[in-house]
Symmetry: C2
Subunit: 299 residues, 2 copies
């Protein structure tokens, strides 16, 4: 039974960081988000990959509580190449080949349409809208986006934001989208569009939650080894919605705990290239780091 | 009775931010730090000002639990001019006139030398060292510094760090001083020099505490109005040591609470130019915001 539907990109990445490089490794927002969510809830993904997409990745995802009925195969796989400088907070995109992603017109499998939890991970807002229209009565819709869509499809993006419950944005993107240097002012504007919660992702500095009458912060985990931050935002979103779906009660407390679980998964993800860490971690390790997050903030 | 001795600069600032400007207003690390500390403990300051230093500032400090026996008057007052861009995280120095600060050779009043708490606020490390040598048996020495001294007096700075208990640094300075992009690695190096705690200040992103076996984070306060961040780091340090002196027990819990109190005072300070907010806030407001910091992190 699919509890969380996740839409986004799947593809192969070429990544270079000060700590090494990886070529044609599994990547994409949908990949990271679904793996993160699958630690907490069964999820189904809606994505397109090429005929050239390696079968081993398909088999790995299937082994991980991820339903692949929503995957379409067509043409060549989406490719992304990026590099990070020493501060590791921002990827520099070196290459983007949309390939099969360019004309993706998602069709939701029948059994996905009743799911209560939807994560519109970072992708073209037109695709996010199309998926949302195919869902029957979702209880919680979370969306993520990035500066590219703010610059090129702002109106469609705003249309999606008006229909969702939780908006994820990084701090620079929030400032860009709402034209103000002040994050609190930006989140007020975002809330006025309809979402009940805005979550500002700040990379190593953590995440902030803003609702109409509540504020919550979660600092980053103090990582000594950061090899590749690719997908950390997607892991955060996937862990967030996966945990909420597992609790099935949208209390303020659960939303706060979901932010911490999202941060836990994201922190593991940065420790190695591609999905290497997500492949290796156990539920016990997740719970252990969750307790560390608690200990790091008690006073 | 002076419980906290604070050494640093006093002067007049010219400040320009996107939200206004202020000319020849009261500034300096010692000013901000002593006002912040004075909310919790009586303190005495060691600083030099010029013959031209306005008497109203002297009278104001005297009215605020700040002992001025350690102030010397000589020549012209230290002047600093700086501006902030929209992100407000970093000051751009437009002008520095050291004036009387250039040849300052601090002499501690007899009654300061027995104080148990010392804050070496940001100033020339040679001056910090000289003050430290005049203290009889301090229980806790906290020091702050800035990139200027890392660049120009690194050896003396390291000499001071070897003699103190708590080092305050901003994240960029920690990376610069220890030659690594990773904060955890930088703080390990810092701890190996002798201090029992390293506190990384990150402006709006909050502060991080690292000790040999404990980590703590405190996010920033979500300010909608930020007029002038000048002195926030000094307020943080002053509030931190002032609170610790008031408790007079260096437990991990008190150190964590001191970090939150320091953050509370710093958050108020950013809301207006110069010391305008520090002049206006009450103990009740400080306690109220402290409770908000608690609420913003419970999950």
């Amino acid at each position: 039974m699919v509890e969380v539907v996740i839409i986004g990109s799947m593809g192969l990445d070429d990544i270079e960081t000060p700590f090494g490089k990886a070529e044609a490794v599994l990547g994409g927002s949908c990949t990271y988000a679904s793996l993160a969510a699958s630690f907490f809830s069964p999820c189904g993904i809606v994505a397109v990959v090429g005929e050239d997409f390696p079968q081993e990745h398909i088999e790995f995802l299937q082994s991980k509580n991820v339903d692949l009925a929503g995957i379409e195969r067509k043409g060549r796989t989406f490719r992304w190449g990026g590099s990070y400088e020493f501060d590791m907070n921002e990827a520099k995109t070196l290459r983007t080949e949309l390939n099969c992603l360019a004309e993706f017109d998602p069709k939701l499998p029948e059994e996905y349409q009743d799911a209560k939890y939807v994560f519109l991970a970072n992708t073209d807002p037109q695709i996010q809208l199309s998926v949302l229209e195919q869902m029957k009565s979702p209880a919680l819709v979370v969306m993520d986006t990035m500066n590219f869509w703010i610059t090129h499809k702002k109106e469609t993006l705003l249309e999606v934001i008006r229909k969702i419950d939780v908006l994820l944005l990084n701090d620079g993107e929030a400032r860009q989208l709402f034209g103000t240097p002040n994050l609190v002012a930006a989140t007020k504007q975002a809330l006025s569009l309809g979402p009940r919660a805005i979550i500002i992702k700040k990379g190593e500095h953590g995440a902030l939650l803003f609702t109409k009458d509540s504020h919550f912060n979660c600092a980053g985990y103090p990582l000594e080894v950061i090899k590749d931050p690719t997908g950390c935002g997607d892991c955060f979103g996937g862990g967030f919605i996966g945990y909420l779906a597992s609790q099935n009660e949208l209390s303020d407390r659960n939303i706060r705990r979901a932010i911490v679980y999202g941060s836990v998964i994201a922190s593991f993800n940065a420790e190695d290239f591609s999905i290497a860490r997500l492949k290796a971690i156990s539920h016990a390790q997740i719970e252990e780091r969750f307790k560390e997050f608690q200990d790091h903030r008690e006073f």
